[in-house]
Amino acid sequence: MAPTLVRHHIGNTVRQIIFIILISVVLGAAVNFIRPDSIPFVETWSMADNLVTEDGEALAIPLEDAAALFADNAAIFLDARTPAEYEKGHIQGAVNLPWHEVDNYFETVIMTLDPEAMIITYCDGEACSLSHDLALFLKDLGFTRIKVLVNGWTLWKGHDLPVTTPSS
Protein backbone atom coordinates (compact mmCIF):
# COMPACT_ATOMS: atom_id res chain seq x y z
CA MET A 1 0.00 0.00 0.00
CA ALA A 2 2.06 2.90 -1.28
CA PRO A 3 1.48 6.31 0.30
CA THR A 4 1.21 7.87 -3.15
CA LEU A 5 -1.63 5.48 -4.00
CA VAL A 6 -3.42 6.37 -0.76
CA ARG A 7 -3.03 10.07 -1.51
CA HIS A 8 -4.22 9.46 -5.03
CA HIS A 9 -7.27 7.55 -3.73
CA ILE A 10 -8.19 10.32 -1.29
CA GLY A 11 -7.80 12.95 -4.00
CA ASN A 12 -10.01 10.93 -6.34
CA THR A 13 -12.60 10.42 -3.62
CA VAL A 14 -12.89 14.13 -2.87
CA ARG A 15 -12.99 15.07 -6.55
CA GLN A 16 -15.65 12.48 -7.38
CA ILE A 17 -17.79 13.46 -4.39
CA ILE A 18 -17.71 17.08 -5.56
CA PHE A 19 -18.66 16.01 -9.11
CA ILE A 20 -21.54 13.85 -7.91
CA ILE A 21 -22.88 16.64 -5.70
CA LEU A 22 -22.54 19.22 -8.49
CA ILE A 23 -24.38 17.02 -10.99
CA SER A 24 -27.16 16.43 -8.45
CA VAL A 25 -27.53 20.13 -7.70
CA VAL A 26 -27.68 21.02 -11.40
CA LEU A 27 -30.11 18.20 -12.28
CA GLY A 28 -32.30 18.79 -9.22
CA ALA A 29 -32.53 22.51 -9.94
CA ALA A 30 -33.01 22.08 -13.69
CA VAL A 31 -35.74 19.47 -13.39
CA ASN A 32 -37.57 21.53 -10.78
CA PHE A 33 -37.25 24.52 -13.07
CA ILE A 34 -38.95 22.85 -16.03
CA ARG A 35 -41.49 20.56 -14.38
CA PRO A 36 -45.06 21.85 -14.15
CA ASP A 37 -45.54 20.88 -10.50
CA SER A 38 -42.31 22.46 -9.25
CA ILE A 39 -41.88 23.67 -5.70
CA PRO A 40 -40.22 26.95 -4.66
CA PHE A 41 -36.49 26.56 -4.03
CA VAL A 42 -36.78 28.41 -0.78
CA GLU A 43 -39.91 28.40 1.31
CA THR A 44 -40.29 29.28 4.95
CA TRP A 45 -41.61 26.22 6.67
CA SER A 46 -43.34 26.38 9.97
CA MET A 47 -46.05 24.19 11.36
CA ALA A 48 -48.34 27.16 12.02
CA ASP A 49 -48.11 28.27 8.36
CA ASN A 50 -49.24 24.85 7.22
CA LEU A 51 -52.36 24.93 9.32
CA VAL A 52 -54.71 26.61 6.96
CA THR A 53 -58.20 25.49 6.02
CA GLU A 54 -59.22 25.08 2.39
CA ASP A 55 -60.64 28.60 2.35
CA GLY A 56 -57.36 30.02 3.59
CA GLU A 57 -58.30 30.63 7.21
CA ALA A 58 -55.45 30.16 9.66
CA LEU A 59 -56.08 27.34 12.11
CA ALA A 60 -53.24 27.94 14.49
CA ILE A 61 -53.86 29.98 17.62
CA PRO A 62 -51.02 31.66 19.53
CA LEU A 63 -50.43 30.45 23.06
CA GLU A 64 -51.32 33.84 24.58
CA ASP A 65 -54.74 33.84 22.91
CA ALA A 66 -55.39 30.25 23.98
CA ALA A 67 -54.35 31.09 27.54
CA ALA A 68 -56.65 34.13 27.55
CA LEU A 69 -59.60 32.02 26.36
CA PHE A 70 -58.71 29.45 29.01
CA ALA A 71 -58.66 32.13 31.73
CA ASP A 72 -62.11 33.36 30.62
CA ASN A 73 -63.35 29.78 30.46
CA ALA A 74 -64.33 30.63 26.90
CA ALA A 75 -62.99 27.61 25.06
CA ILE A 76 -63.15 23.84 25.17
CA PHE A 77 -59.73 22.19 24.95
CA LEU A 78 -59.58 18.85 23.14
CA ASP A 79 -56.57 16.62 23.72
CA ALA A 80 -56.00 14.62 20.52
CA ARG A 81 -53.34 12.33 22.00
CA THR A 82 -53.84 8.76 23.24
CA PRO A 83 -55.69 8.15 26.54
CA ALA A 84 -52.39 6.97 28.08
CA GLU A 85 -50.66 10.24 27.24
CA TYR A 86 -53.71 12.19 28.36
CA GLU A 87 -53.65 10.38 31.73
CA LYS A 88 -50.02 11.32 32.27
CA GLY A 89 -50.95 14.98 32.14
CA HIS A 90 -53.15 17.36 30.19
CA ILE A 91 -54.35 20.94 30.07
CA GLN A 92 -56.66 21.48 33.01
CA GLY A 93 -60.24 20.74 32.03
CA ALA A 94 -59.26 19.41 28.59
CA VAL A 95 -61.37 16.59 27.14
CA ASN A 96 -59.58 13.59 25.66
CA LEU A 97 -60.56 12.92 22.04
CA PRO A 98 -57.87 10.59 20.67
CA TRP A 99 -57.68 11.15 16.93
CA HIS A 100 -56.75 7.54 16.25
CA GLU A 101 -59.95 6.25 17.90
CA VAL A 102 -62.17 9.20 17.14
CA ASP A 103 -65.06 6.92 16.12
CA ASN A 104 -65.27 5.43 19.62
CA TYR A 105 -65.69 8.88 21.13
CA PHE A 106 -68.43 10.06 18.84
CA GLU A 107 -71.29 9.72 21.30
CA THR A 108 -69.42 10.39 24.51
CA VAL A 109 -67.54 13.47 23.37
CA ILE A 110 -68.42 14.87 19.96
CA MET A 111 -72.21 14.72 20.42
CA THR A 112 -71.89 16.62 23.70
CA LEU A 113 -70.00 19.55 22.16
CA ASP A 114 -71.79 22.76 21.31
CA PRO A 115 -71.30 23.37 17.56
CA GLU A 116 -70.97 27.09 18.21
CA ALA A 117 -68.42 26.71 21.01
CA MET A 118 -64.81 27.81 20.68
CA ILE A 119 -62.79 24.61 20.42
CA ILE A 120 -59.02 24.38 20.70
CA THR A 121 -57.34 21.09 19.78
CA TYR A 122 -53.81 20.22 20.78
CA CYS A 123 -51.32 17.38 20.89
CA ASP A 124 -47.60 17.44 21.54
CA GLY A 125 -44.59 18.36 19.44
CA GLU A 126 -44.21 20.80 16.55
CA ALA A 127 -44.72 18.03 14.03
CA CYS A 128 -47.66 16.33 15.71
CA SER A 129 -50.52 16.38 13.26
CA LEU A 130 -53.22 14.75 15.44
CA SER A 131 -54.64 18.09 16.57
CA HIS A 132 -54.62 19.39 13.01
CA ASP A 133 -56.40 16.31 11.66
CA LEU A 134 -58.93 16.44 14.47
CA ALA A 135 -59.60 20.14 13.86
CA LEU A 136 -60.26 19.61 10.15
CA PHE A 137 -62.47 16.62 10.96
CA LEU A 138 -64.57 18.66 13.39
CA LYS A 139 -64.80 21.50 10.88
CA ASP A 140 -66.18 19.04 8.36
CA LEU A 141 -68.75 17.95 10.92
CA GLY A 142 -70.01 21.52 11.11
CA PHE A 143 -68.16 22.93 14.07
CA THR A 144 -67.38 26.51 13.19
CA ARG A 145 -64.92 27.89 15.71
CA ILE A 146 -61.95 25.55 15.76
CA LYS A 147 -58.34 26.42 16.48
CA VAL A 148 -55.18 24.35 16.85
CA LEU A 149 -52.62 25.04 19.55
CA VAL A 150 -49.44 23.84 17.82
CA ASN A 151 -47.09 21.91 20.12
CA GLY A 152 -49.79 22.51 22.72
CA TRP A 153 -48.86 20.26 25.61
CA THR A 154 -45.16 21.21 25.63
CA LEU A 155 -45.91 24.94 25.32
CA TRP A 156 -48.63 24.90 27.96
CA LYS A 157 -46.46 23.02 30.45
CA GLY A 158 -43.45 25.21 29.61
CA HIS A 159 -45.38 28.37 30.49
CA ASP A 160 -46.62 26.91 33.79
CA LEU A 161 -50.25 27.19 32.77
CA PRO A 162 -52.78 25.09 34.73
CA VAL A 163 -52.50 21.35 34.09
CA THR A 164 -53.97 18.18 35.50
CA THR A 165 -51.49 15.41 36.28
CA PRO A 166 -51.98 12.11 38.15
CA SER A 167 -50.29 13.64 41.20
CA SER A 168 -52.38 16.80 41.25
Binding site: L5, Q16, I20, S24, V25, A29, V31, W45, E126, A127
Partner: protein
Amino acid sequence: MLQKKSSIDVPLTIGYHFTRLVMAGVFIYASIDKIIHPDLFAEAVFNYQVLPGYLVNLTALILPWLELILGACLLINRWMAGASALAAMLMALFVGMIIFNLARGLDISCGCFSAAPDDDPITLLTLARDICFLIFSLGLAGLVFIKNTRRVR
Protein backbone atom coordinates in the same frame (compact mmCIF):
# COMPACT_ATOMS: atom_id res chain seq x y z
CA MET B 1 -1.75 -1.99 -14.43
CA LEU B 2 -2.16 -5.48 -13.14
CA GLN B 3 -4.13 -6.59 -10.14
CA LYS B 4 -1.96 -8.51 -7.71
CA LYS B 5 -3.53 -11.94 -7.47
CA SER B 6 -3.92 -13.59 -4.12
CA SER B 7 -6.22 -16.13 -2.52
CA ILE B 8 -8.40 -13.46 -0.91
CA ASP B 9 -9.13 -11.74 -4.21
CA VAL B 10 -12.15 -13.84 -5.13
CA PRO B 11 -14.18 -13.26 -1.94
CA LEU B 12 -13.18 -9.59 -2.00
CA THR B 13 -14.34 -9.24 -5.58
CA ILE B 14 -17.62 -10.98 -4.83
CA GLY B 15 -18.12 -8.80 -1.76
CA TYR B 16 -17.31 -5.70 -3.76
CA HIS B 17 -19.81 -6.38 -6.53
CA PHE B 18 -22.45 -7.65 -4.12
CA THR B 19 -22.40 -4.57 -1.87
CA ARG B 20 -22.03 -2.28 -4.88
CA LEU B 21 -25.16 -3.68 -6.54
CA VAL B 22 -27.21 -3.84 -3.34
CA MET B 23 -26.44 -0.23 -2.47
CA ALA B 24 -27.02 0.86 -6.09
CA GLY B 25 -30.48 -0.71 -5.89
CA VAL B 26 -31.20 0.86 -2.51
CA PHE B 27 -30.23 4.37 -3.58
CA ILE B 28 -31.88 4.30 -6.98
CA TYR B 29 -35.09 2.80 -5.60
CA ALA B 30 -35.11 5.32 -2.75
CA SER B 31 -34.73 8.27 -5.11
CA ILE B 32 -37.58 7.61 -7.54
CA ASP B 33 -40.67 8.38 -5.45
CA LYS B 34 -39.01 11.45 -3.94
CA ILE B 35 -38.09 12.82 -7.37
CA ILE B 36 -41.68 12.30 -8.53
CA HIS B 37 -43.20 13.99 -5.47
CA PRO B 38 -40.90 16.82 -4.32
CA ASP B 39 -43.75 18.52 -2.44
CA LEU B 40 -44.47 15.45 -0.32
CA PHE B 41 -40.79 14.79 0.26
CA ALA B 42 -40.31 18.41 1.38
CA GLU B 43 -42.97 17.77 3.99
CA ALA B 44 -41.15 14.63 5.15
CA VAL B 45 -37.90 16.60 5.38
CA PHE B 46 -39.66 19.36 7.33
CA ASN B 47 -41.15 16.80 9.71
CA TYR B 48 -37.68 15.62 10.70
CA GLN B 49 -37.36 19.02 12.40
CA VAL B 50 -33.62 19.26 11.96
CA LEU B 51 -33.21 21.80 9.17
CA PRO B 52 -34.00 25.51 9.23
CA GLY B 53 -37.15 26.19 7.19
CA TYR B 54 -35.36 27.80 4.24
CA LEU B 55 -33.22 24.69 3.62
CA VAL B 56 -36.14 22.26 3.55
CA ASN B 57 -37.11 22.64 -0.10
CA LEU B 58 -33.51 22.77 -1.35
CA THR B 59 -32.79 19.52 0.48
CA ALA B 60 -35.96 17.93 -0.86
CA LEU B 61 -34.97 18.92 -4.41
CA ILE B 62 -31.29 17.93 -4.32
CA LEU B 63 -31.09 14.91 -2.01
CA PRO B 64 -33.13 12.52 -4.22
CA TRP B 65 -30.95 13.40 -7.24
CA LEU B 66 -27.86 12.85 -5.15
CA GLU B 67 -29.20 9.39 -4.31
CA LEU B 68 -29.99 8.68 -7.96
CA ILE B 69 -26.61 9.82 -9.37
CA LEU B 70 -24.79 8.05 -6.58
CA GLY B 71 -26.80 4.89 -7.17
CA ALA B 72 -26.12 5.13 -10.91
CA CYS B 73 -22.36 5.44 -10.28
CA LEU B 74 -22.48 2.35 -8.08
CA LEU B 75 -24.50 0.51 -10.72
CA ILE B 76 -22.19 1.24 -13.64
CA ASN B 77 -19.06 0.84 -11.50
CA ARG B 78 -17.74 4.35 -12.17
CA TRP B 79 -16.37 6.96 -9.75
CA MET B 80 -16.48 4.25 -7.12
CA ALA B 81 -14.16 6.02 -4.67
CA GLY B 82 -16.42 9.06 -4.44
CA ALA B 83 -19.71 7.17 -4.75
CA SER B 84 -18.90 4.62 -2.06
CA ALA B 85 -17.61 7.28 0.35
CA LEU B 86 -20.67 9.44 -0.29
CA ALA B 87 -22.95 6.42 0.20
CA ALA B 88 -21.36 5.73 3.59
CA MET B 89 -21.64 9.39 4.58
CA LEU B 90 -25.30 9.59 3.57
CA MET B 91 -26.16 6.36 5.38
CA ALA B 92 -24.36 7.63 8.50
CA LEU B 93 -26.38 10.84 8.25
CA PHE B 94 -29.68 8.94 7.83
CA VAL B 95 -28.90 6.65 10.76
CA GLY B 96 -28.04 9.69 12.87
CA MET B 97 -31.31 11.44 11.97
CA ILE B 98 -33.37 8.35 12.73
CA ILE B 99 -31.67 7.82 16.12
CA PHE B 100 -32.14 11.51 16.92
CA ASN B 101 -35.85 11.45 16.14
CA LEU B 102 -36.51 8.07 17.74
CA ALA B 103 -34.78 9.36 20.88
CA ARG B 104 -36.97 12.44 21.10
CA GLY B 105 -40.05 10.37 20.32
CA LEU B 106 -41.12 12.23 17.20
CA ASP B 107 -43.88 10.33 15.43
CA ILE B 108 -42.92 10.99 11.81
CA SER B 109 -42.68 9.08 8.58
CA CYS B 110 -39.30 7.89 7.42
CA GLY B 111 -39.39 9.40 3.94
CA CYS B 112 -36.84 6.71 3.16
CA PHE B 113 -38.29 4.90 0.17
CA SER B 114 -41.53 6.75 -0.26
CA ALA B 115 -42.23 10.45 -0.04
CA ALA B 116 -45.77 9.96 1.28
CA PRO B 117 -46.11 11.34 4.79
CA ASP B 118 -48.62 8.70 5.91
CA ASP B 119 -46.75 5.46 5.52
CA ASP B 120 -43.48 4.02 6.68
CA PRO B 121 -43.14 5.53 10.18
CA ILE B 122 -39.66 5.45 11.68
CA THR B 123 -39.22 2.52 14.07
CA LEU B 124 -36.39 0.44 15.48
CA LEU B 125 -36.75 -1.76 12.38
CA THR B 126 -36.09 1.24 10.15
CA LEU B 127 -33.02 1.94 12.24
CA ALA B 128 -31.81 -1.68 12.02
CA ARG B 129 -32.32 -1.67 8.25
CA ASP B 130 -30.40 1.56 7.80
CA ILE B 131 -27.58 0.36 10.05
CA CYS B 132 -27.27 -2.70 7.76
CA PHE B 133 -27.05 -0.39 4.75
CA LEU B 134 -24.48 1.71 6.59
CA ILE B 135 -22.34 -1.38 7.25
CA PHE B 136 -22.66 -2.38 3.58
CA SER B 137 -21.61 1.11 2.46
CA LEU B 138 -18.67 1.23 4.83
CA GLY B 139 -17.62 -2.24 3.65
CA LEU B 140 -17.87 -1.14 0.05
CA ALA B 141 -15.85 2.02 0.69
CA GLY B 142 -13.23 -0.14 2.40
CA LEU B 143 -13.11 -2.57 -0.52
CA VAL B 144 -12.76 0.27 -3.01
CA PHE B 145 -9.91 1.64 -0.93
CA ILE B 146 -8.17 -1.75 -0.90
CA LYS B 147 -8.73 -2.18 -4.62
CA ASN B 148 -7.32 1.25 -5.47
CA THR B 149 -4.29 1.14 -3.19
CA ARG B 150 -3.12 -2.42 -3.79
CA ARG B 151 -2.23 -2.03 -7.43
CA VAL B 152 1.26 -3.06 -8.44
CA ARG B 153 3.09 -2.28 -11.59
